[in-house]
């Protein structure tokens, strides 16, 4: 059996109105990948995310942001100024025909526009409102500003990331926003289940900080053991060798537990006789003596290329994988065989490979889709769905409502 690319809508028939900035765009993308119709509602000038780098060919252009392209693939786009009276009325008409509203405004901002949860419920009594903010809807930090790096810092992932000799290092892209988006996505699923079972809506109050603070047992280590996790480079906290090791042409990530240690000694010819001492089976001891163990292991790994060594390790049941560049990953035969990437065509970006859905359904994978152009679906939604006349639309456009 092999994985084929075809539409796999697990949740067809649901509609999401996505008002989110790039804080919540990934949540909307996941909902789209699950088969929901996701309508991005942008201010008439376009979502600010359209001007976030990186850009195609380096040129800042509102249809050229690659981040926007990835996070909004397959969504629809309408332009609507919901702060204006006409815009708000049209928005509420759409709410009446929708299941989920996703938003990332500062707490209280929607309510100040007469679009608070209570007002939305009047239009759609089973509505699921998904609000994602840096810190949640209320509390002492609720109004704190939270770019992605603040989320990583306040959740403690940043503190434990990087070389202890250097400044804490932020992960690539916007991981705090992504992770909080995924958490909000799970909240949306729970709310949807509740709605199907009991016929009621819900207001999900997502927090970037609270999402990130779940990571790496950081809170738990302190709560249960009074241990403050520190930066440790690539060295895992409980195991050795569990680190990156240099090879002829790059690096390999090895993770050797108690089970794998004897297997490693077997494939590692002429290892130091000292290592045959059964005391080394104990992970805690190996971790304690990680400097010694890591130096010995490096003398072994340096004999191979990272690909050769990963294959050798895996053949002997030891979890080893190469440190890939993004393009190494894209070219990997396994990833290719699984059809993870497939082609998308976009009027500005051209034809390119993009990741499909991160899951398969009965061995089928939903393919990627291009992001919508600004206002691409205005006619379809405003005229087709809401029945606004060409005349009305012209007036609304002139008044910069749409």
């Amino acid at each position: 059996m092999s994985i084929t690319i075809e539409p796999v809508a697990l949740l067809p028939g649901y509609r999401v109105l996505d008002l989110s900035s790039s804080m919540g765009s990934f949540c909307g993308k996941v909902l789209r990948d699950l088969g929901m119709e996701v309508i991005k509602i942008e201010p008439p000038g376009g979502d600010a995310g359209r001007l976030e780098p990186p850009f195609a060919k380096g040129h800042a252009h509102r249809e050229g942001s690659l981040r926007f392209a990835y996070l909004n693939g397959g969504k629809k786009s309408v332009t609507l100024d919901i702060a204006k009276d006409d815009g708000r009325r049209i928005f509420l008409d759409l709410v009446a025909k929708s299941d989920v509203v996703l938003e990332t405004f500062t707490p209280g901002e929607l309510a100040a526009n007469q679009l608070g949860y209570a007002q939305l419920l009047e239009k759609q009594s089973k509505l699921i409102l998904v609000s994602l903010t840096g810190f949640g809807q209320d509390g002492p930090y609720a109004h704190y500003k939270a770019p992605d790096i603040v989320g990583n810092a306040m959740g403690a992932l940043l503190y434990i990331s990087g070389d202890p000799k250097m400044t804490p290092c932020n992960p690539p892209e916007t991981q705090a926003y992504y992770y909080a988006s995924l958490m909000a996505g799970y909240g949306t699923m729970l709310a949807l289940w509740q709605r199907e079972m009991r016929g009621i809506g819900a207001w999900i109050d997502g927090s970037v900080q609270a999402s990130m603070a779940l990571h790496e047992h950081v809170a738990f280590n302190y709560a249960a053991e009074k241990r403050v996790m520190k930066r440790a480079g690539s060295q895992h906290q409980h195991n050795a060798p569990a680190n990156l090791f240099q090879c002829k042409n790059g690096w390999i990530a090895l993770f050797v537990t108690q089970t794998h240690w004897p297997l490693l000694l077997k494939v590692w010819d002429n290892h130091a006789p000292e290592l045959d001492d059964p005391k080394w089976i104990n992970s805690n001891l190996r971790r304690k003596e990680a400097d010694y163990i890591n130096a010995e292991v490096t003398s072994f790994t340096m004999r191979f290329t990272k690909e050769e060594l990963a294959e050798l390790m895996q053949k002997h049941g030891i979890p080893g994988l190469p440190v890939n560049s993004p393009s190494d990953f894209m070219k990997d035969p396994h990833i290719q065989a699984r059809n993870f990437f497939s082609q998308v065509t976009h009027p500005v970006l051209g034809t390119y490979d993009a990741p499909g859905s991160f899951f398969t359904v009965n061995s089928k994978r939903g393919g990627p889709a291009p992001a919508p152009l600004l206002g691409q679906h205005n006619h379809e939604i405003f005229a087709g769905e809401l029945g606004l006349s060409a005349e009305t639309l012209a007036v609304l456009t002139a008044e910069q409502v749409i």
Partner: protein
């Protein structure tokens, strides 16, 4: 009134899980009311986290407790044909299977998708294997640590001036897996409820990981670039980064994104003169001259506690925060306000608190989380009340080491 913890009440999930991502996925479902029955055996089928740490009792490993809160426990030997028969019977009375074993482990035991669907055609099956169930490397052994490496994240998670890859000491992909798993579980259950048919979800953790590097892959495929580590630099803000503060290994984040934030920041640091400094009048200039800015910012932050930097900047509308440690999290007033920690005053390993989840159901109070059931402690209830076997039979299976 029902609390949100009970949303999934009535959903029964059989969990074949070990380690971090799989069990935690089960925990997140159990925390909202699903009945998650974790199936293990002392005959070679114990969750590896039961051996984590110094505790002798397999119910006392802190990691295991953390990842399996609220989960029930059925001890059953899957190498015994009676054991696997009982699992098939149980599948007939369940809604879903959650598993993160290596591909084909369950198939070889007679518990593959087809075997279970013979008993229950509507069964939802969610798998979280490292490399997926199909493809040339599907048999590879993987951990979160080296999945990060394989995806490209490790390579990019670095300062540009560092001379070797660093990445993370942690297991980021496990965190992705344990929230994507339950998300897919409910989506598949909703789908199956509507269609009346079973659904199999293959959620390769490597692909869940790659999903958070999508923009970077587009840089490669659209622009033909091979993106390099960017560390704490960001093209749309300056100052932007992590700055050392007063104290031992204390840091703060500051991110100044537009002219308003810049003016406010200058006021906070008492450098109103910089507003008109020609090197810094636009965002683009500030980004170009960020080295000069960073030196100025560091001088200011070094003389202050990180908490003061955060409160003064945020009060003036400038994004800033403490780079918090585990100890900081436990006393964080915002997390406390959200009732974020669930307390376990009398657990097997003493008193501790644990984070709940990244979201709340607004206005609805939450139940406390529950400890995992002790190993095998649900055997009698599940086999007796659910499957209808009498005490003598169950006792006989215990003697025959079917239940162990």
């Amino acid at each position: 009134m029902e609390t949100p913890n009970q949303i999934l009440k009535g959903v029964r999930i059989l969990a074949f899980t070990t380690g971090y991502a799989g069990p935690y996925a089960g925990r997140l479902l159990a925390n909202y009311g699903a009945e998650v029955i974790k199936i293990e055996s002392r005959k070679g089928g114990l969750d590896t986290f039961r051996h984590y740490g110094q505790h002798k009792d397999i119910d006392e490993a802190p990691r295991f407790i953390e990842c399996n809160l609220g989960v029930r426990s059925l001890a059953i030997n899957l190498k015994n044909p009676t054991g696997t028969r009982l699992i098939r019977e149980l599948a007939g009375k369940s809604d879903a299977i959650l598993q993160n074993f290596r591909p084909r482990v369950l198939d070889k035991l007679g518990l593959g998708d087809e075997d279970l669907r013979k008993v229950n055609p509507k069964l939802v099956i969610v798998k979280l294997p490292g490399f997926g169930t199909e493809g040339p490397k599907s048999s590879y052994g993987t951990w979160g640590f080296n999945l990060t490496a394989f995806s490209g994240i490790t390579y990019l998670w670095n300062h540009p001036e560092q001379d070797r890859p660093i990445g993370s000491q942690g297991v980021y992909p496990d965190h992705l897996g344990f929230v994507l798993g339950p998300t897919m579980m409910i989506a598949a259950l909703l789908n199956s409820r509507r269609s009346g048919k079973g659904v199999t979800i293959d959620l390769a953790q490597i692909e869940g990981t790659a999903a958070v590097l999508g923009t970077t892959y587009l840089e490669t495929s659209v622009n033909g670039d091979d993106p390099k580590p960017r560390g704490n630099h960001y093209a749309l803000a300056a100052p932007h980064g992590v700055y050392r503060c007063q104290g031992d290994d204390r840091w703060c984040v500051i991110s100044v994104r537009d002219d308003d934030e810049w003016r406010n920041f200058c006021r906070v640091v008492g450098r109103g003169d910089l507003v008109s400094d020609r090197r810094f009048t636009t965002l683009q200039l500030r980004v170009e001259n960020r080295a000069a800015l960073d030196a100025m910012v560091s001088e200011w932050t070094l003389a202050r506690p990180a908490e003061e930097v955060m409160t003064r900047c945020q009060a003036a509308g400038v994004p800033a925060s403490v780079v918090q440690t585990g100890a900081d999290l436990l006393k964080d007033p915002q997390l406390r306000h959200r009732n974020y920690f669930s307390a376990f005053p009398d657990s097997l390993i003493g008193s501790f608190e644990i984070p709940r989840s990244g979201f709340l159901f607004k206005g609805v109070p939450e139940d406390p989380l529950k400890l995992p059931a002790r190993f095998g402690s649900d055997n009698d209830q599940i086999l007796g009340e659910l499957l209808g076997y009498d005490k003598a039979t169950i006792e006989q299976w215990r003697q025959e080491e079917v239940l162990t």
